[in-house]
Amino acid sequence: MSHTLRRWILALGVAGLAALFTAAFLELPDFGRGGHPYGDRSVAESLGRHTANVVSAVNFDQRSFDTLGEESILFTAVLGTVVLLRQTRDEDRLPPRPARVDPWVRRYALALLPVALVSGLYVVAHGQLSPGGGFQGGVIVATAVHLLYIGVDYRALERVRPVGPYEVGDAVGEAAYLLLGVAGLVAGASFLANTLPYGTFNTLASGGTVPLLNAAVGIEVASAVVVLVSRFLDQAVEITDADGAGEEAAR
């Protein structure tokens, strides 16, 4: 194909995309406009099921099957990471030496660790009431644990973070979501249907299955992120090529 022809084809494609894009934008509702047909309906549905946070109602009730897919994407991605970043036969494992941490960094990290942990758990538990939920809270919990690595050292982190249980937690969270879906089937409704009593509006025990699904996702995401970071940390800090090249591994 000649150079000129190729350029014409590109120009045609770009012009077509620009035209479609412009046409699509002209049909969009105005920026920042109040009402939206889908928004109005999902808000009404969410209030009807006593879920104060409409985003959670959409994620874990109205479109909970979507969320199952998203949860599985993370599960599969972490599984892939575990397989790819395992220690191979030509690699050695050298325990890293502890490194000096600035006392102010240490104090800051250690003071913030419980705060971050509680915030994460709070965000998971209040997913049906206020912004956040299993995914956001799970990531906060998982990153909070790693303040130990910044504030103390790698060995302190390893002591509170045996990877095995977190790998189990990852699978348990994923399985719990599926089982809650099957519970809907057993109750005589459809897969992932919200069959529990809806409870009192704006309390922790409201929203039927929404808080339970939230908790399942929270467990899965927190465990998955811990496993993910642990594999990357292993590679960066511990695992070296066979001839002991990683002597300068500080921590």
Partner: protein, 92 residues
């Protein structure tokens, strides 16, 4: 322009600037830092646009997790690179 629009405009500019810097910076470790600032700017934008759920995700993943994973990967690659560099010198 009312107050909300000013806030949105400021956040949009912040996002555009930090995203451009993230592309312009070539050094991966620095890029990780800029990405974390970009995550913060995006989180602010989402909050102003009344999407706090998305802002929380952005903050957790974009500002904390992604830079951390990039930094760890950079460290691993550098260590391996240094070693092959030594090997080359020894072989010379």
């Amino acid at each position: 322009m009312n107050g909300d629009e000013v806030l949105i405009a400021v956040c949009l500019v912040l996002v555009a600037v930090s995203a451009t810097v993230a592309v312009a910076v070539r050094e991966p470790a620095r890029q990780a830092l800029v990405l974390s600032v970009l995550g913060l700017a995006l989180a602010a934008l989402f909050t102003v646009l009344q999407a706090p759920d998305v802002a929380l995700s952005q903050l957790a993943v974009g500002s904390a997790l992604t830079p951390l994973l990039i930094l760890l990967s950079v460290r691993k690659v550098r260590r391996r690179g240094r070693r092959t560099g030594e090997d080359e010198e020894a072989g010379r």
